[in-house]
């Protein structure tokens, strides 16, 4: 425990230096899940700063709290204790409407199981984040086509998700995550359901996004090789940060 805490402090200190550039700041995050009988401490006092333009990967055994951490960063879930700031905005006090607007502007999500809407065509799926902004139909269409071009799927716009392979679905999901040009992309095991060839394709797209557009990316992964390609690796064990 003691070495973990020290290394965390060291990390934190190193980031305080360029405080200007902090994009996501977690302070003493604790998450407790309560069911009728059991209390699970999913996250135990996690503090973490992620810089603008950083590509961070999170690793750890199954059930150690990686998704929980990512969801809290993405404002999809509220911590039991602690503070989440995004781009220097404290998000603790935001109401449902403000949170929604915040997610819409700042964040893009990529999930392991894609979470595309099967009733909508690829293009409509990609457009989704833009629906919750004031943008015209024409503009939405334009941006969505551009996003699909970036992931190399502009020839599948009129398909339905069920007509695509896993890798294609994930690329649609990436297009959806980037269409609104968010500053942060949160990816929870984006290659978890894909074979290694498709997985590295996805990884390449993410790396390119990070390098070319300067998008801050936090990615949960089980793949050491992929983690090695990112700027920094955080390891979790039983809800505690160990590296």
């Amino acid at each position: 425990m003691i070495p973990a805490e020290t290394s965390e402090n060291v990390l934190q200190n190193s980031h305080i230096i360029n405080h200007q550039n902090v994009m996501i700041s977690l302070k003493n995050i604790e998450k407790v899940y309560r069911t009728d009988t059991v209390e699970t401490l999913a996250l135990n006092n996690i503090s973490l700063n992620i810089n603008k333009g950083e590509f961070l990967s999170i690793m750890g055994p199954s059930g150690c709290g990686k998704s929980t951490l990512l969801n809290i960063m993405g404002l999809l879930d509220a911590p039991t204790r602690g503070e989440v700031s995004i781009d220097k905005h404290d998000t603790t006090q935001l109401n449902d409407k403000k949170l929604a607007a915040f997610r819409n502007r700042k964040l893009g999500f990529i999930f392991q199981s894609y979470h595309l809407i099967n009733d909508l065509q690829v293009l409509d799926n990609v457009e989704l984040p833009l629906l919750y902004r004031n943008s015209s139909a024409k503009e939405r269409r334009q941006l969505s086509i551009e996003a699909l071009e970036k992931v190399g799927l502009s020839n599948r716009m009129k398909h339905f998700p069920t007509q695509l392979s896993g890798g294609q679905k994930q690329r649609v999901a990436i297009a959806r995550a980037i269409v609104g040009q968010p500053e942060i992309i949160l990816a929870d095991e984006p290659t978890g359901n894909l074979d290694s060839a498709m997985g590295s394709e996805i990884m390449d797209i993410l790396l390119q996004l990070n390098e070319r557009d300067g998008t801050t990316i936090v990615m949960v992964t089980h793949d050491e090789n992929m983690a090695r390609k990112t700027h920094r690796l955080v390891r979790l064990f039983d809800g505690t940060q160990v590296q």
């Binding site: 999809l76 502007r105 893009g108 909508l120 457009e127 984040p129 902004r133 959806r176």
Partner: protein, 412 residues
């Protein structure tokens, strides 16, 4: 945005064909029943041919005599004497039509039995009612006073009795072993018009029962026509003051009667009846409650279906929330989807109603009855659609919007 809602709504409806069918069936079936039922009610109670003056008419269809001591009571139509003596002489009505209830008589034509419904009337009857004469004209006061055996027949009777001939005025028709000379032929009236329906109309003076008999009860009804709608309260009041002075028949100590609008005149003697407007407001109240309960069923059904649909769509809800939809936005989306569904249900319901009314009208279920869609009902049906849509959408949508993003995404 709306276009997008529309797309997803259609997609969801198409995907869940069975649920969609059940929902649409519930809505359209309810609506169809309502529209057809009100078309019937409208047909029976509305100011339709030939009683087009119902707006400025009052009806006396039932008298009531009571014996307070023995708790006995007699309800029924009035005698000719009563109506002629106490009602025709009122000063406020412009005209008073007096006619008997129709009664069936048999006649034979080419050895084939033909049932003819006979009605005795006075002369003002032909002024108060607006029968359409296809040929000839009504009998006159003079002819009635002379006791002439003269008749107005319906168009159907003309066809049934005389066959396909152009002209029957002056010919004779036999009913109840009496030969009547035809004075005129009128467009037929459906049997749902209790007061004005008959096959053969003849002067009351040729009736075999004694129309001069002085008992109060008999089998005649009266229609009091005012010069305008505004005259009706005056007529009611004058009649009430006359009634208050009338002594009941022997054996009774209370006499009750009132001049009421058409529907009220029949309700007066029922438990619904009251002295003010014969209980119409109570009937409307009960009717509205019935209609509301009736519409509640498909609404509850829809709410139920919607809740189960929500659970299926929790991933979609999670995704939308993750990408920036607020709870309120999702509530809006879901309500719009629901309104689209109910709108289709309404369209189907209205189309079905028109179809059924068309079939009913053509099938001659009730001869000469022509059912039409009441525009007011149509309007309220459309309003009901929106209410349906809102009611059945709001609660599920509210539940949906409260789902945590993480929970929604996980539940798959």
């Amino acid at each position: 945005m709306l276009k997008n809602y529309f797309k997803i709504a259609i997609a969801v409806l198409k995907r869940r064909k069975f649920f969609t069918f059940i929902s649409l069936f519930g809505i359209s079936f309810t609506l169809t029943i309502l529209i057809v039922m009100t078309a019937f009610v409208d047909n029976i109670t509305g100011a339709n041919y030939p009683e087009v003056n119902r707006e400025r008419s009052l009806y006396i269809t039932t008298l009531q005599q009571k014996n307070v001591k023995y708790f006995s009571q007699q309800n029924g139509p009035a005698s000719f004497y009563y109506l002629d003596h106490y009602v025709r002489t009122l000063k406020t009505p412009a005209k008073v039509a007096i006619s008997s209830l129709f009664s069936p008589t048999n006649t034979y034509i080419n050895n084939k039995k033909l049932v003819i419904n006979l009605k005795y009337t006075n002369d003002a009857y032909w002024d108060v009612m607006e029968y359409k004469f296809i040929e000839g004209k009504p009998y006159t006061l003079q002819q009635i006073n002379n006791g002439e055996r003269i008749a107005v027949i319906s168009e159907d009777t003309k066809k049934n009795y005389f066959g396909d001939v152009p002209n029957v005025v002056g010919k004779y028709i036999e009913a109840d072993n009496v030969q009547y000379r035809v004075a005129g032929v009128v467009k037929s009236v459906p049997a749902t018009m209790f007061v004005s329906y008959a096959d053969l109309y003849v002067p009351y003076t040729v009736s075999k029962t004694d129309y001069k008999h002085k008992s109060l009860m008999g089998n005649y009804t009266a229609i009091l026509l005012g010069n305008s709608k505004e005259d009706l309260p005056k007529i009611k009041a004058e009649y009430a003051s006359v009634v208050s002075k009338i002594k009941p028949d022997g054996g009774f100590d209370v006499f009750v009667s009132g001049a009421d609008p058409y529907l009220g005149s029949f309700l007066r003697a029922t438990p619904l009846g009251d002295s003010r407007n014969g209980g119409i407001s109570k009937l409307i109240f009960i009717g509205s409650i019935f209609v509301l309960l009736f519409m509640l069923l498909p609404t509850l059904n829809l709410i139920n279906i919607n809740i189960s649909r929500i659970m299926e769509r929790s991933s979609e809800i999670g995704v939308r929330k993750a990408f920036g939809a607020s709870g309120m936005t999702l509530v809006g989306q879901f309500i719009v989807e629901n309104i689209i569904l109910t709108f289709f249900g309404c369209i189907i319901g209205i189309a079905l109603s028109f179809l059924i009314l068309q079939v009913l009208n053509n099938s001659n279920l009730i001869a000469n009855m022509h059912l039409t869609v009441n525009l007011t009902v149509l309007f309220f049906s459309l309003v009901a659609c929106v209410v349906f849509g809102l009611l059945s959408g709001v609660y599920p949508a509210w539940r949906m919007s409260r789902l945590q993003v993480v929970t929604a995404l996980k539940a798959q």
